[in-house]
Symmetry: C2
Subunit: 298 residues, 2 copies
């Protein structure tokens, strides 16, 4: 396969950010020598060596556009990723999705036990807010408080946790496209938007077009997830595939079919690019990430 210079440059940028965030996470998570050792080990198991780090990539791309220091961005990105990691651990629990495989490894409650998985999620959430409060992340401490508020709202009952609750109630019911969007803007979109906002806030107030970009990319991410879940095999995804439709969960594929869902993702991608029009070259990484999120195969 031919790889262009632009693609190679983007891949190198992603690799560098992923390594930097991995390092920040590893430094921020207490190690097993600190009691309770088993809990700390499980928190590391749940967080390290995992996933594409889409949210941290968005934090860095938005921060680079706004002119934020990488030393701040890696902390903000680690905090967002801890919230994401905690949500996966809790979503996988038997009383939620009851999943045994995540990123190709046994889920936390399978590898450890349910009580530990519950506490891993709880403690990762606390640690995310600790990170945002104990490092100097903004010139103005009021902006740093705004970062705490942004992440808390995105994680809470009007954000991610609320989206999960709507998802639970919706299982087995058909949802309209509007209802699906309401659910997904909370379940997935809220934290993706927060990732973008936090990156920008590391440099100062968040420019309004970035909020639009984040909204569209967040929704596109979920639409593509639904398409991939319907089409891909378990081996490619690293998690149990086709699960949502088997559990009777409404998805963009069940609501509009694969072809229309693909078109919708493409519209959102173009909308996200349009929101960046005024930023010129500074928005390169955000542009590339919008493409990456919609055109990914896994």
């Amino acid at each position: 396969m031919q790889v262009s210079a632009t693609e190679a440059d983007f891949a190198a940028w992603m690799g560098a950010i992923q390594a930097r965030v991995e390092n920040a996470l590893a430094r921020s998570l207490p190690g097993p020598p600190h009691s309770p050792a088993r809990l700390h080990e499980a928190m590391r198991y749940a967080t390290l060596e995992g996933g594409k780090r889409v949210r941290p990539l968005l934090t860095f791309a938005a921060g680079e556009l706004a002119g934020a220091a990488a030393a701040r961005l890696e902390i903000a990105a680690a905090a967002v990723e801890m919230i994401h990691a905690y949500s996966l651990v809790h979503d996988d629990l038997p009383c939620m999705d009851d999943d045994v495989l995540r990123r190709g490894k046994p889920t936390v409650h399978v590898r450890y036990d349910e009580a530990t998985a519950l506490l891993v999620g709880d403690a990762l959430q606390s640690l995310a807010f600790q990170l945002l409060a104990e490092h100097a992340l903004a010139d103005d401490p009021n902006i740093q408080l705004e970062m705490v508020r942004t992440l808390a709202v995105a994680a809470g009952s009007r954000g991610m946790a609320g989206g999960q609750a709507i998802d639970l109630e919706a299982t087995g019911k058909p949802l309209s496209q509007t209802e699906l969007e309401f659910m997904h803007m909370r379940k997935t979109g809220a934290l993706i938007s927060a990732a973008v906002r936090l990156g920008a806030l590391c440099a100062g107030p968040c420019p309004a077009p970035l909020e639009q970009y984040a909204h569209r990319v967040g929704l596109a991410f979920q639409v593509v997830d639904d398409v991939l879940d319907a089409e891909a095999s378990t081996a490619t995804l690293g998690k149990t595939a086709g699960k949502d439709s088997k559990q009777g969960k409404p998805t963009y594929v069940t609501a509009m079919g694969v072809a229309r869902a693909r078109e919708f993702a493409e519209e959102l991608r173009r909308g996200a690019q349009a929101a960046l029009a005024g930023f010129g070259e500074r928005a390169l990484r955000l542009r590339q990430l919008a493409d990456f999120i919609v055109l990914r195969k896994f």
Copy 2:
């Protein structure tokens, strides 16, 4: 029973604070009209009309000593109480203590369902940090960031969640008094200390003797809990009594017997009073609370 003027005054003060905090919680918790209605209703069920509000009382007593405004203290107190309420909801889950009764009512997973109880706890934790970030709680926003950090550390893997993890590992094993103290300073003491610190921080930096006071009161609270759990009936406690010893959990009563545990609580009470010696009349409420916590019968 004869009630002295001092006792009546303390009871009136407690009643006023409890009503004020109940009001702040009711205002801060999203109502059922806001989607997801069931989650929001369950969050209110888990938090409102509950308990003695010991942590909020400590926040107000420390804040009054330091000269903080009640409008700030009620928000800080509500945030601490939300962390406490979330921990009860998660502790009661089948994979943890598997309890069906709390404050005389069915626990959240019994009244609703396990998945909802999980999300209630998760969303209450987020909301606690949202409150600390979105209200003006200190003249210096850096002190407000210190409040966020204080609550996050107290809730996390080196605080409350960590104490729970040690408790899980310890079930069925005898613990020494030192090990018990290590566990309880995290499981219960960390959040009680945070309640005191947050109250003081609403007025400025926290005076060092208050940290000592908080440490001793936090530990005394747990020792008295163990004594009451061993002695009281389920009806008096409003939760299942005698459960810890039945589950083979180490307690101060199993470690040192009822009589010595009572003595230990009394030593801690005197130590807490001694830490307040330099504050004179300003420490009245903190003194009364130390007595209340150790001498309570429920």
